[in-house]
C-alpha cells in the first residue's frame, strides 16, 4: 500500500539563495497517481528530488508519518531505501549486467534477511513486465529503450516501496514503446497500491494520472483533478 504525502511551505533554494521551487501546500492520498508537468527548467525534477529527500529544503515533506526533511542523512537514506523507488529518463542501469541483476540491485545492500525476497520480487516484476525470458540471457546493453525502462520499473518495484518517483519515464522512448510502458507503469502502480509521482512532458502519461500539478517558474500554479 502506498504512503500519503503532505507538503507544507516547501521551498528549495539554489546555493546563491535563488528560489528554485516553492510549494505552499500539497496533500495526496496513499496510492494516488500524480503527474507533474510544466516547461523545462520550471522545477519539476527539483520537486521530484525533494520528494526523494535528495535535496535540502525548507518546510515539511511528510510521507506517512515521517517528515523526511527532519531526518538525519543516514535515516533519510534508509527511509529512501525502504519507501521510495525511482525511475529515470535515461534508465541508469548497469549496462554490463543482465536485467535480473539490475532489477535486484537493492539486494546487494539491503539487510541480508531481505535479499532473497528482493531478488524474488525483481524476477516477478520482470516477468510481469514481459522480460522474464531475457532477464538472465544477456546484458541490458543489448535491450531496446522500452525493455530498459521496464527493467528500471522492476528495479523500483522490487523493494516493495510504497512510493514510486518517475522522472520523464517515457522521454527516451518512441511512441509505441512509450504507450506500452505507460500501460505497464500504471498497472504496476495500481496493482501494488503504490503512490506514483511522475514528472513528464508526455500528454499520454499525464492523461492517465489521478491528479496533475503544473509548475511554472518554480511555483505550482494550477492543480486539477483528472479521471483515473
Amino acid at each position: 500500500m502506498g504512503l500519503p504525502l503532505s507538503i507544507t511551505g516547501l521551498t528549495v533554494r539554489a546555493s546563491d539563495g535563488r528560489v528554485l521551487l516553492s510549494l505552499p501546500e500539497l496533500e495526496l492520498p496513499a496510492g494516488a497517481l500524480v503527474g507533474i508537468q510544466g516547461p523545462s527548467g520550471a522545477g519539476k525534477s527539483t520537486l521530484l528530488y525533494a520528494l526523494a529527500g535528495l535535496l535540502d529544503a525548507q518546510g515539511m515533506i511528510r510521507w506517512g508519518d515521517e517528515d523526511i526533511l527532519r531526518l538525519l542523512p543516514g535515516k533519510r537514506t534508509r527511509f529512501r531505501a525502504e519507501n521510495i523507488g525511482m525511475i529515470f529518463q535515461d534508465f541508469l542501469l548497469f549496462e554490463e549486467l543482465d536485467a535480473e541483476a539490475n532489477a535486484g540491485l537493492a539486494a546487494m545492500f539491503r539487510p541480508r534477511r531481505e535479499r532473497g525476497a528482493v531478488r524474488a520480487r525483481a524476477a516477478g516484476w520482470l516477468d510481469f513486465l514481459g522480460l522474464g525470458r531475457q532477464a538472465k540471457d544477456r546484458s541490458v546493453a543489448s535491450f531496446s529503450g522500452g525493455e530498459r525502462q521496464r527493467t528500471s520499473i522492476a528495479r523500483a518495484m522490487a523493494t516493495n516501496a510504497p512510493v514510486l518517483l518517475a522522472d520523464e519515464p517515457t522521454a527516451s522512448l518512441d511512441r509505441a514503446a512509450a504507450d506500452a510502458l505507460i500501460e505497464d507503469l500504471i498497472a504496476a502502480a495500481r496493482g501494488a497500491g503504490t503512490t506514483l509521482v511522475a514528472v513528464s512532458h508526455d500528454p499520454a502519461l499525464i492523461a492517465r494520472m489521478d491528479r496533475v500539478l503544473n509548475i511554472v517558474d518554480g511555483r505550482a500554479t494550477d492543480n486539477r483533478a483528472s479521471a483515473a
Binding site: S45, Y49, A52, L54, L55, G74, T77, R78, F79, R80, A81, E82, I84, G85, M86, F88, L92, F94, E95, E96, L97, A101, L105, A106, M108, F109, R112, R155
Partner: protein
C-alpha cells in the same frame, strides 16, 4: 631475546609480509563486512575496461621498476660474491687491491708490477699453503682471455670436474664452460685483447683444447687456461724451470728462471691460516696480501650507502606513485559517478557505496601489483642475463623477500589511502550527478 628473534628467517619474512598486509586487510574487512559488491565492481570494470587496463598497466610498471631494481641489485651482489668465492687470498706486489682483484677474479687485467721468483717460492713452500697459483695474463683468443696458471688451480676452480683431461704439455689447453672451442680444436692465441690484439704475435704457438672446465658462474668460464710455462714460453721468457728440467709443468718453479707473476692465488686448508698468511705477506715494500671477499665487502659498503640514497629516492618515488594512484582512482571513479549517485538515490548505505568504490580501486591496485611483480621478475631475469652475458659473472635475480615486503607495504598503504578518494566521492552531491 624476544620471541621474534627465536623465529626462523622464513617465518620472520612470512610474518612481516602478513603484518604489512594487515592494515589493508583490516580496512577491507571493515568496508566490505556484510556486503558483496563484486557483481557491480565487475560490471564497472567491464564498462570501463580500457581505462582500467591502462591504469593497471601504469601501476604494474611502477611496481615492476621497484622490484626489478631491488632484485637486480641483490643478484649483482650475490653474483660478484660468488665469483670471488674460490679466491680466498691473493698476493701481489703492493698497489691497488681493487686493480689486482679485478685482474685475478674478474679477469680485467691492467698493468701491474710483478712478484719475483723468490717471493713466489716463499709463498708456495709455506707450510700453510696448499695451492699457490701464479697467473699470467696478456693474451687472448677471440673474446676469451688466455690465462697461464697451474694444473692444481684449474682443478680447484672447476671442483675437479673437467670434461676431457688435464693438459700434459705446453701445447695443450683447457677451456672454460662458455668458450666456443671444442675438445680437439686447435687455436693460436693473439697478444693483447680486443681490437688492439696482435694476431700474428704468437705465430706457431699452436695449442689444442684437451679439456673443458665445469661452469663456475664467473668470468673464468670465458677463459682459456694454459700451463703458465706455455704463456711465458710464447712471450720469449724463461719457463720457470732450469734447462735440465725444461719439460716440467707446474711447481716447484726455480726462482732463477721465474719470469714473475702479477698475482698469486693462494689457498689454505684452514681458515685461520688465511689470516696468518695475509698478515705474513702484507709487507710494505715487497708484497700485498688481501681477501677479495673483503675488498668486495668494502665495495658493497660504498654501494650500500648509494643503495640507501636510492632506497630513499625509491620511497619518495613510490609515495608520488601512490599519490598518483589515488588521484587516478578519483579521476577513474568520475567515469561512473552517475552510477554512484544512482546507488545513493536508491538508498544504498554510505558504507556500501564506499565498498564499491574501494573494491574497484583494490581490484585495480592488486591486479597492477601482481602484474608488476610478474613483469618485474621477468625484467630482472632478462637484465640478469644481459649482465651475465656482458660480464660473465653469473647474476641471477630471483624474487626475494625484500621485494615481497616492498610490494606488500606499497599495496597496503595505497589500499588504506584509497579510502580517501572513495570518501571524497561519497561527499559529492547526488542530484547534479543524476542530472549530468
Amino acid at each position: 631475546m624476544t620471541v621474534w628473534d627465536t623465529l626462523p628467517a622464513l617465518a620472520q619474512d612470512i610474518a612481516l609480509t602478513a603484518l604489512l598486509l594487515v592494515p589493508a586487510l583490516l580496512v577491507g574487512a571493515l568496508v566490505l563486512r556484510g556486503y558483496a559488491p563484486w557483481t557491480l565492481v565487475w560490471a564497472i570494470l567491464r564498462r570501463f575496461r580500457g581505462a582500467s587496463a591502462l591504469f593497471v598497466l601504469l601501476i604494474a610498471i611502477s611496481v615492476c621498476m621497484g622490484i626489478g631494481l631491488l632484485a637486480q641489485e641483490r643478484g649483482l651482489r650475490r653474483g660478484t660474491a660468488q665469483a670471488a668465492d674460490k679466491f680466498d687470498l691473493v698476493i701481489s706486489a703492493p698497489g691497488s687491491e681493487l686493480s689486482v682483484m679485478m685482474a685475478a677474479v674478474f679477469l680485467q687485467p691492467s698493468d701491474m708490477p710483478l712478484l719475483d721468483g723468490a717471493t713466489y717460492a716463499e709463498i708456495s713452500t709455506h707450510d700453510n699453503v696448499s695451492i699457490a697459483a701464479p697467473l699470467a695474463f696478456g693474451d687472448s683468443f677471440g673474446p676469451s682471455p688466455v690465462i697461464g696458471t697451474t694444473a692444481d688451480f684449474a682443478r680447484y676452480l672447476a671442483d675437479g670436474q673437467i670434461e676431457g683431461r688435464m693438459w700434459q704439455d705446453t701445447h695443450e689447453a683447457l677451456v672454460g664452460a662458455l668458450v666456443d672451442l671444442h675438445i680437439g680444436d686447435g687455436f693460436e692465441p693473439a697478444h693483447g685483447h680486443g681490437d688492439a690484439a696482435e694476431h700474428d704475435a704468437h705465430e706457431g704457438a699452436d695449442l689444442t683444447v684437451v679439456g673443458r672446465l665445469a661452469p663456475t658462474g664467473t668470468p673464468w668460464d670465458r677463459a682459456i687456461l694454459l700451463p703458465i710455462e706455455a704463456v711465458w714460453g710464447v712471450h720469449g721468457l724463461a719457463n720457470g724451470h732450469a734447462p735440465e728440467r725444461a719439460d716440467q709443468l707446474g711447481p716447484p718453479f726455480d726462482p732463477a728462471y721465474f719470469p714473475g707473476t702479477p698475482a698469486v692465488v693462494v689457498r689454505s686448508e684452514a681458515l685461520w691460516a688465511n689470516y696468518a698468511l695475509r698478515s705474513e705477506f702484507t709487507r710494505d715494500r715487497d708484497t700485498m696480501a688481501f681477501f677479495p671477499g673483503a675488498v668486495l665487502s668494502q665495495l658493497y659498503r660504498v654501494l650500500g650507502d648509494i643503495r640507501q640514497i636510492m632506497s630513499l629516492m625509491a620511497l619518495v618515488t613510490q609515495t608520488l606513485v601512490a599519490a598518483a594512484v589515488l588521484l587516478g582512482l578519483f579521476i577513474l571513479s568520475r567515469l561512473f559517478h552517475r552510477h554512484i549517485a544512482l546507488l545513493r538515490a536508491l538508498g544504498a548505505p554510505a558504507r556500501f557505496v564506499l565498498a564499491v568504490v574501494w573494491s574497484f580501486g583494490a581490484v585495480l591496485l592488486s591486479a597492477g601489483a601482481i602484474l608488476g611483480l610478474c613483469i618485474g621478475i621477468g625484467a630482472a631475469t632478462l637484465l640478469a642475463r644481459v649482465v651475465t652475458a656482458q660480464t660473465d659473472i653469473l647474476v641471477t635475480a630471483p624474487l626475494g623477500w625484500t621485494e615481497i615486503h616492498f610490494l606488500a607495504g606499497f599495496v597496503s598503504v595505497t589500499l588504506v589511502l584509497s579510502l580517501l578518494p572513495a570518501a571524497i566521492i561519497l561527499r559529492q552531491p547526488i542530484v547534479p550527478a543524476l542530472r549530468a
